[in-house]
Amino acid sequence: MTVRTVLRNEWRLLMADQALRIVLGLFAVLLVYALANGVVWLRFQERTVEAVESGNVERTSALQQELDAIANGGQPSSPFADPRSPLVLGGPGGSHTAVLEPGSLTALAVGQSDLLPYYYDVNIYTNESSFQQNGEVENPLNLMVGRFDLAFVVVYLLPLLVLALSFNVLSEEREQGTLALTLSQPVSARSVVTAKLAFRALLVVGMVLAMSLLGILVTGGLDSPGRVLLWCATVVTYSLFWFALAAWVNTLRRSSAWNATVLVGAWLVLVVVLPAAINIAAGVLHPLPSRIEMITAQRDASNDAVNRRSELLARYLEDHPEMAEGVVADEPGLGALAWAATDAVNRRLEQVTSEHDAQRAHQIILVRRYRFLSPALLAQDVLIDAAGTGDARFVHFQSQVRAFAEEWREFFVPAVLADEQMSASVLPNVPRFRLADERPGEAARRAAVPLTVLGGLVLLVGIGAGVGLRRVRGAG
């Protein structure tokens, strides 16, 4: 009796069981539904990104036309929106929208991409409060519940399927009295159980990976093979964890009913109760500071700044001699004074935000440690990070937008201070946002520890199962 015989036998048995066929079919339907949802969401984001980018082009060409017309003796469309003024050309009317392309595997995991903003209008008034804007228009109810995507199916439902297929992999043989017969053949209990589980793993993991690869092929995610690999590795490791758990519980030589109860209990605790309990613990032990203070600080600073503009301007020029380029008129213009006030408010905001962000970063490091308590949290974390829809990629994007906003100010502020007018000739030199997306290795580096821990868990439980299986005898 070879392993191949076991495999062939298992296939026949599985296919003969109508309930299992229904369960597997249902799982396939859920996978298709999940993938379809992800693809629809990705297409929506792609269309938006396209519209946003063409908006950039349209804005620039409209400004070009108006500036050309003015150069030829025309009048600005409004005296309050003269595009020659750096406060207008570099202001909201001339802003450039910085865009984050959707993560390459967004179709597999929506992650945080429905909550966090993936584009920002950048102009001379961009400051910390600009980063507090909302993301995509979305029903708060839908945000609260979360999407039905492949990541959800993998993290929550796949373990249930694994357990349904494997809770009685050994106990059933014993209960039916076939175990002694099987082990009378020249084959060990370990290889029989391994073959049975390997067959089931191939089936389940194969279905999920096939659906993932289909999604990746349809949406062109193959461009980042590293992310695809990370996704697949996580799906495999996480599934193996549940298979190993089922194998180990089977070696405890209890009844199938007992196995089922214990395994479902483990699923409940690790996937449902623990993550929610961890969040409440995080809320109690490390509450996130509120942003409300930001609004109050901004108002205070702007009230104060309006009354001290000249003083602020002098201080600003002292701090930023490069901005003045030596040409500030003896009588500073209104633009320069207004800018000094704006800058003072920005500084105050930066101060409040950096205090807040430091506190928040500290809390988040602590909160993120708890994810090691639940394989479900670990898997979810790595899956959405691999998909490019995790927190880290958005943080990376935001820091680049911050730097871009600084570049933008450096381009326009000297002209504001010098009270200069600008012409169409500067347009080609106006900064443009180029996203330097994370290097492929970044996500892998972040995933290294969680994946190792997950792999370690698999190994630990697997060894436990292996040791238990060695003791399995046909009789008794």
Binding site: V40, G135, V137, A260, V264, A277, L288, I292, D300
Partner: protein, 470 residues
Amino acid sequence: MIRHIVHKEFTDVLRDGRFRWCSILVGSLLLISLGHGWVQARNTQQEHAAAQATAREHWETQGEKNPHSAAHYGIYAFKPRLALSFVDEGVDPYTGTSVWLEAHRQNDFMLRPAQDATAAQRIGALTAAQVLQHLVPLLIILLTFGTLAGERERGTLRQLLATGIGRRELAGGKALGVSSALALLLVPAALVGAAALVVASPGPAASPLARGTALAGVYLAYFATFLALSLAVSAWARSARTALVVLLAVWVVNGLVAPRVAVDLSKWLHPTPSAFEFARTVESEMATGTGDISRPDRAASTEHLLAEYGVERVEDLPINAVGVYLQESEEFGNRIFDRNYGALWDTFERQGVVHETLAVAAPLLAVRTLSMGLAGTDVEQHRHFANAAETYRRDLMRQMNGDMTENSLTGDFTYTAGAELWEAVPPLQYAAPPLGWVLGNRVLSLLVLGAWLAGAILAAVARVRRAEVT
């Protein structure tokens, strides 16, 4: 006889170590989440109230300026945390907490707490509502799945029925026995919750006790549904194991699968525009008007005023024509905002109806809707507050433009008003909608929950009547 059955079930539960520990676990999670929710709700409410007071102070002490400058300066509104939000925080982490009320435009709510949290935290913290909606039903299943199927497996069902007890009595007795065990857990939690409301309400609310009582009623109906359903399955199933597997499958579909299916289904059926598209539509309609909403014409407006006051020149007008025009622009903008934001909110509401309708497959969806509604943390009550804030903004703008119109002349940009005018603006007072409003919006969920309860009880009675003895 029925008293004996109740007593037996009750003692069974208390004696069985597994049930005891599960109950203690769920009970303590419930109390912890209630306590944490209360502290959080109170802190947030205090913080928002303080920020609202500071915002008012900023408004009153903004100094001498033109009323239109004051309109641009505007004021911030902070969403209050209602008293019962400590039981169910609902969509609050996903709606903004404050909105800037300024001239010319309706702004979005800013600062969503969820945006500051991590992806893992989106699974949701264990609020009291989560415990009540997910864990208590699970406990009910664990307590009930074996009641009849187990008796049958052990062969004691035949003996029991031989005593001459009616099957309906038997089912009633089993249900009452399990309920009394659950009551040990739920009654203290309800009392703690009620005490928290009466003695130390964490925030303002319209009729908190009526809402709280209704909330308790909704959850009782939900638990009764699960209890009856579990009894029905236990009577129907051939073995206790089958009963458990079927009931757990129901639990997974109810709590995990159906809610998420509803999200994507609602988006397929009622798509929302992208934020970019929405902003662009508002911007272009503000620039050119749309349909029968046209931009006010400055020249025509002045013309009209000249005719009304019977003067030839703008300088001779006894009022400020700019103020009149600014107000006309506000009225125009308001119609554009009503059109666009109204359509968006309506789409959200239609999406909500999809969630409510799917409750026919998962009672959790009906209970969740009712729970958030009664706690004042659903999308509709966020809209209610957003509308109140927007109405306040419009009144504020009317007052500023009115003052400018009446107290200055056209072309006079030096006119300033002071604290007297700022203080004349009444502060923002928000009254949460009454219980009738909430329930009136939620008739569908009430009906579906009622149908589930009735259906589950009928199923339990029918199944117990037909239950096979062996």
